[in-house]
């Protein structure tokens, strides 16, 4: 019994140490500015305030960035998941020449570094007159999101028993009819998880946004918030922490949906780094 308590305390102290930076982010965001500079630092805020959140929403362009990020991530997710769903169906359930090579190409691009693609993509998008638009970012984001979504959906697709489809075909359904009526409902949990992961990836992307967008009209949160740090004369840490918290809220929601699925066990390669 004592051994169990000691082990629990040990385990939880590590967990809390890992989570401490996030706790500190939350605490700093609700402290008034002067309290940040008190020595020793207060662990829990002595004067709770939401002024930084208010300031973030009213005095900065945070909401603009947030909105750009929502449009950007949602569009990327819808485009990518739609293409990847039919693509993975074809890769798993059809026989034609070049199929294996394609599967190999998907895995290869899934591991490809974005710094290699970014230079030609930059030239391409500038030549197309798309620089500084959200569209350019959607195009750029497909380079990492599509291989990723294809790879994930392929394993989900492979998990659906082939007999289900055959049964529908024997009953006289067309191939596409069987896809719509049998495969899609079975694949739905996989589609939802893939969509959430794709959304998280797009929401967190930084490098493409840094290179391709240089105006506040199209800037997403990642580069927008970083800009607030670089351009400010003296750094307001509470404000930045409030921005970090707000930026993480959609991720927490997505994470809550994914959590049961993740802790049930998820093989390597399922989550992209």
């Amino acid at each position: 019994m004592l051994k169990k308590i000691v082990f629990n305390l040990f385990a939880w102290s590590i967990v809390l140490m890992v989570a401490f930076p996030l706790f500190w982010m939350l605490v700093t965001s609700v402290k008034p500015q002067f309290e940040l500079f008190s020595r020793p630092p207060t662990i829990l805020p002595q004067n709770f305030t939401l002024e930084h959140y208010w300031k973030l929403l009213s005095d900065t362009n945070f909401l603009g960035y947030f909105w750009n990020s929502v449009i950007l991530s949602t569009t990327t997710t819808i485009v990518v998941v739609a293409i990847a769903t039919v693509g993975s169906y074809s890769l798993v359930r059809f026989r034609y020449r070049g199929r294996e090579t394609l599967a190999f190409l998907v895995l290869f691009t899934y591991l490809l570094p974005s710094v290699v693609l970014i230079l030609p993509l930059y030239l391409m998008l500038v030549n197309l007159g798309l620089s500084n638009t959200i569209t350019s970012l959607v195009i750029a984001y497909t380079t990492f999101a599509l291989p990723y979504a294809l790879w994930l959906l392929r394993s989900f697709m492979a998990g659906i028993p082939e007999d289900l489809e055959s049964a529908a075909l024997v009953d006289g359904a067309s191939r596409l009819g069987a896809f719509w009526d049998v495969i899609l409902p079975q694949l739905l949990p996989g589609i939802i998880s893939t969509a959430l992961f794709t959304f998280i990836l797009s929401w967190n992307e930084y490098l493409y946004a840094l290179v391709l967008v240089n105006s506040d009209d199209a800037r997403p949160l990642t580069t927008g918030v970083m800009n607030m740090l670089i351009s400010s004369f003296n750094i307001e840490w509470s404000l930045l922490m409030a921005a970090s918290v707000m930026m993480s809220v959609p991720l927490i929601i997505a994470f809550a949906f994914l959590q049961s699925y993740l802790t049930r066990g998820f093989g390597a390669g399922g989550v992209k780094g």
Partner: protein, 298 residues
């Protein structure tokens, strides 16, 4: 059913299959294959980024970069960063997975807390750590000083070797949850009988770990190490945002060098040459990984 109609049906199915994969192939060609080929092509030019005007220089870029010290220091930094952060991720990740596999209080809450660093944006992670590292008001310096570990505030990101150590540690913190998820999933599939048998043979907890758990984890660990090695090697955001490659070029890795060359020094051609070389290095890991995955598939 007669033979010809069956082949007709099969042919129609193949056509449908090709039709369904067509959007994927089109997008791949436009945003991945074409840029990849033109990256190699660009590396043979000298291009000024703001005007995008270029002149053919052949292999000169490659000759210049291989003779330059900056390439070799960046490669060395890249290897130090990758090996350092990867080994910490593996050690800490496996340890944490073993702990979370036990029946601890509020296990699912503990698991979510551990996974969280992996899901937040690198921007958020960097902002939080910069605030923790802050030399005047950061909590880390305060805690270390009150514990008597240091006499004066430390400059975590502005001096060496502190900057490299800090970057490696933050990288380990951010990415070890990936190892935890993957190892935890594998741990849950190890049959309980194996442990029973070991226990009957009189194996203690440590012997059970080395004789039962570790051999069972071997395959998944190989996959994790290869994947994480590839991803850590190409990491840009975390290092760029934390130190920008500094002080001077002490934490500058190859991805940062590509970015600097293209968008700070405005040498697009040279940057492409760096990118191509970087990809060639990564190709070794990638081929090993892909081969392995294919073997498992068949």
């Amino acid at each position: 059913m007669t033979q010809p109609t069956k082949t007709l049906l099969e042919r129609r199915y193949s056509m449908l299959g090709l039709l369904l994969i067509a959007p994927t192939v089109l997008v791949f060609c436009a945003v991945i294959v074409y840029p990849l080929v033109s990256a190699v092509y660009l590396s043979l030019f000298k291009i000024f980024t703001p005007t995008l005007e270029g002149s053919w220089v052949g292999l000169d870029n490659y000759r210049t970069l291989l003779a330059k010290g900056e390439f070799w220091t960046s490669l060395r930094n890249n290897l130090i960063w990758t090996v350092g952060t990867l080994s910490l991720q593996i050690l800490f990740g496996v340890g944490m997975a073993l702990v979370l596999h036990q029946n601890i209080w509020f296990r699912s809450l503990a698991r979510s807390l551990i996974l969280f660093p992996y899901f937040i944006s690198t921007v958020v992670a960097v902002l939080v750590w910069k605030w923790l590292f802050n030399d005047l008001y950061g909590i880390l310096n305060h805690l270390m000083m009150s514990a008597g570990l240091i006499a004066w505030p430390i400059d975590y990101l502005g001096s060496m070797p502190n900057a490299m150590i800090s970057v490696i540690l933050v990288g380990a913190w951010k990415y070890f949850p990936f190892v935890v998820i993957a190892v935890l999933a594998r741990l849950q599939t190890i049959p309980e009988q194996l442990y029973e048998a070991a226990r009957i043979d009189g194996a203690g907890p440590i012997a059970r770990f080395f004789d039962v758990t570790l051999p069972q984890l071997r395959d998944v660990l190989v996959v994790i190490i290869m994947l994480r090695a590839i991803w850590d090697f190409k990491e840009f955001d975390l290092i760029f945002l934390l130190t920008g490659g500094g002080p001077v070029t002490s934490t500058q890795t190859l991805p940062l060098l590509v970015y600097k060359e293209a968008f700070a020094l405005n040498q697009m051609g040279m940057a492409s040459a760096y990118a191509v070389i970087m990809m060639l290095i990564m190709l070794v890991f990638m081929i090993v990984y892909i081969r392995r995955t294919r073997q498992e598939g068949s």
